[in-house]
Amino acid sequence: MIPLTYMMSLSAIIFAIGVAGVIIRRNILVMFMSIELMLNAVNLAFIAIGSRLGSMDGQVIVFFVMTVAAAEAAVGLGIIISIFRNRETVHADDLTLMRW
């Protein structure tokens, strides 16, 4: 078995890359993709610990996370399409209507 440290550090690095993507990029779609990266990093952590504990709970939780991610992707993309229809932009800096 791969030592747990390696798996968890890989998961941590991918999670941090996802966080960096959400902070740095201003294109809403790329921010959304970075959120999917974060979800995947968490899935990896669940599977790694689950297989070392010998429990199927990790895999079941990953199953549910995947389903919720699918539902969230559909609704989120619907929101992005609505934003595009009304504002003609997907750049987060241009959506300043509710600023002070």
């Binding site: 968890m8 389903t67 619907g78 399409i81």
Partner: protein, 177 residues
């Protein structure tokens, strides 16, 4: 899984994840994300979570990413040209992410993580054991998930449809003539 294989897959995952956030062309970002998803799915299969690994490819890389692709097409997103600015944001953002990674490493590495390692039972990761858990211990969550998916379908159709006569240029012209 032999260690060199894991190091190769890990490096591939990190490089493609960096590719997602660095690329200017949204479709190249999407391809990098698909590569990351496939690599993570292979890691799942290496950890004996075979069914979940294949489900990751079928659901995530095969369906959700196609949805992203359709939206990129629909919005006709082009390559982001020109100076992007926000240098201070980029610098402090990357710094914060690096700090987060270090902090997570210290919290989640085994000396701190109290995980008691046991053996894997027979049939671990097979469809039968996954289904067994889903339909006994997690039955309520399973049923609620189906309602959640229905809500997501209805919600996304309601959000993305065009209301008749509002912003469709052809419908506006037909209404005017």
């Amino acid at each position: 899984m032999p260690p060199f294989f894991f190091i190769f897959l890990g490096a591939l995952a990190i490089v493609s994840a960096l590719g997602v956030i660095v690329q200017r062309n949204p479709i190249h970002s999407l391809l990098a994300l698909i590569a990351t998803l496939m690599t993570v799915a292979i890691l799942f299969i290496g950890e004996d979570a075979v069914v979940v690994g294949f489900l990751q490819i079928i659901v995530y890389a095969g369906a959700i990413m196609v949805l992203f692709l359709f939206v990129i097409w629909l919005l006709n997103l082009q390559v982001e040209t020109g100076p992007t600015g926000h240098l201070a944001l980029k610098f402090f953002g990357s710094l914060a992410a690096a700090l987060l990674a270090t902090e997570l490493f210290f919290i989640l590495a085994p000396p701190h993580l109290r995980v008691k390692f046991t053996h894997e039972p027979a049939g671990y990761g097979s469809l039968a054991s996954l289904a067994g858990k889903l339909f006994t211990d997690y039955l309520v969550a399973f049923e609620v998930t189906s309602v959640l998916l229905l809500a997501a379908v209805v919600g996304s159709v309601a959000l993305a449809r065009r209301l008749p006569g509002t912003d469709d240029p052809r419908a506006a012209r037909k209404a005017a003539s």
